[in-house]
Amino acid sequence: MTSIQALAVVVVAVPLVTAGLVILAPSKHVTMLARTCAVATSVLAVVLVGVAVRDAGHPLIGHWIVVDAAGALLLAVTAVIGLASVLMSASYLHGAHSSFVAEGHRDRVYYGVLFLFWAMLLAVPLAGNLGAAWLLVEATTAASALLVGFSGKAHALEAGWKYLILTSLGLGIALLGIAILAAGVPTGGVSGLAWGRLATFASGRSTALSAYLLILIGLAAKIGWAPVHNWLPDAHSQAPPPVSALLSAALLPTVLLVAWRTDRALAPLIGVSAAQRLLIGFGLASLAVAVPFLWRPMAFKRLLAYSSLEHLGVMALGIGFGTPLALAGVALHIVGHAIAKALGFYAATPLLVHEPRAARHAVSGVGRTAPALGATMGLSLGALSGLPPSPLFVSELLILAGGVESGRPWPAAVAAVLLALGFLGLAHATIETLVGKGHRRNVTRLPGLRLVTTLGGVSLVVLLGLTAVAPWLSGSGFVDALVRGVP
């Protein structure tokens, strides 16, 4: 085992061990232990990301572990959002009045399951073969379903149940596709499912296409692409806010990476054009379904969930267009979306204390009654809408330009119209949130507000930094490595 592979194992092992430790630790030390281990996990992951980005042109490829540019991108996002979610969790738990488990065990069970979920999420981008990637994605379902239903309330149980059943069935369909591939790869076993070996599939193009379709449709149910997205708004709106952030900012794009790698691996067999058409179809369908909901007055977290549907659609389009310009846009979009979306979900913790009706209804005028909270929410919504200078504005431009460059001007044009409509919907929500008509507010001290505003300040700097570096991204070695994929 090389030192990089060992580091990759440690990055996953630390949160895994922490999950066990927080279950056993005395109650008064649980939060401190969780925070310390979260910092350690993130630091280790960032070191691994640094190594992967430095050697982006020479990815480490094994049957079990892959450390490449695309994996590094998702690893960085998952590490940072995971750390922020652990830090925000104490504020959520402080204000939570009910849970799935007995009061005395609540915090340790929450952190235990959260670290398990995080460990699996960190492992997915490092998975060296399709079988292992599937196993890890399925494992995230078990852990995250418990977290979605963690409050134990009727709506949370409903959301958790839908999420568990729909995504498990979807992943079952994906596994059928993987079984078909495994039967047709001459070497068999784990090495046969390694990303680079999938192209040796020997049972013919039509069988390969069937397998690809089953895998993509199955993964689409977990990514939340329309029309198999029904669980997404419910799960994201009912989960504890730090978990919603991880679901939206890290889980969805991480599963997208598995679809992306499968697409790249099978494209020589099924034809690049067929694979791209499917992804573009999912992208446009997701945009078309999301946009009408972005125009409706809606509970804040639910609005963010529909925005996830829109943005995962944009990422699907970028991967479908597949040009260096579009893939530079996808990389930028994954990072920008993660930061802006996670910030929005974190703001929901103090928001639900400030205005409890925000759990079910649209909010307005928060900028007047709680300026710091309103500004954070406004920053999140503004960035997600693609309002310049948001990096999402630049990434969407890059993806649309990539569409034209790839010879698909019509899908790019339709996407441009849908994105403009989505922008108007979210821009209206931003204005309402900041300066809309106010309601009588709870003026008690808001849990987690200081941390949320600090994260807001950091996010603003990072988002502007991303916009600044965007023009140089498309010609970089990093994007070249993304275009090459796992050889």
Binding site: A154, G172, G188, S237
Partner: protein, 203 residues
């Protein structure tokens, strides 16, 4: 795989789609999983194959026990009536099976009947999850899909990875444990393990 074994597996799957009592349904799925375990052990050529077969048997027994506990702890005054009547459910399952076997070309298992049996089990599992109201039947639908995939692994001409097979077994067990927890909480919250009660979140 003999033709009789294939028909037995598909018959048990269709039985799950139509039966009304939860305990009978659990018995059908457990029997099916045990048949698969016996097949795996009969065809085992290496130590890894034996380990995978034993894991399949343990999974069958563990999940069967878990389901029976869940049934016992959520006794309902009368069985839930599904949205779709039994014969219509069987019809949906048969149509799905025919569609899937017609659409998916030969994919390299040891025989075409084995491939059809795999696709039939997956289709019946999907039909069960989609047409039943009972939360327990929906989970049994997922297990049925996974039984179909276990059959694919058994009938694959290549040696599959024992780690991947054990991982799939572990994942399914985890999913069913979490689903059983949800089922019991839903039962205590709504007074029935009825997915029809879970429709308040709509836009």
């Amino acid at each position: 795989m003999t033709g009789a074994t294939g028909w037995l597996l598909v018959g048990l799957a269709l039985g799950l789609v139509v039966v009304r009592r939860r305990s009978i349904a659990v018995g059908l799925v457990t029997t099916q999983a045990l048949v698969l375990a016996v097949m795996a052990l009969q065809q085992a050529g290496t130590v890894s194959d034996v380990v995978a077969g034993l894991a399949l048997a343990m999974r069958a027994v563990a999940l069967g026990a878990l389901f029976f506990v869940a049934v016992a702890r959520s006794r309902e005054t009368q069985p839930l009536r599904a949205r779709v009547p039994p014969m219509a459910r069987a019809g949906v399952a048969v149509v799905l099976i025919l569609m899937l076997t017609a659409l998916v070309p030969a994919f390299g298992l040891t025989s075409r009947p084995a491939e059809r049996a795999v696709l039939a089990l997956v289709a019946a599992g999907l039909a069960c999850a989609a047409t039943r109201r009972s939360t327990l039947f929906q989970v049994l639908g997922i297990v049925l899909v996974e039984n179909g995939l276990a059959l694919a692994a058994i009938e694959s001409p290549h040696a599959s990875s024992v780690i991947i097979e054990l991982g799939v077994t572990l994942d399914l067990t985890l999913i069913v444990c979490v689903a059983a927890l949800f089922h019991l909480r839903i039962f205590s919250e709504f007074g029935a393990g009825d997915s029809a009660a879970l429709r308040s979140l709509r836009d």
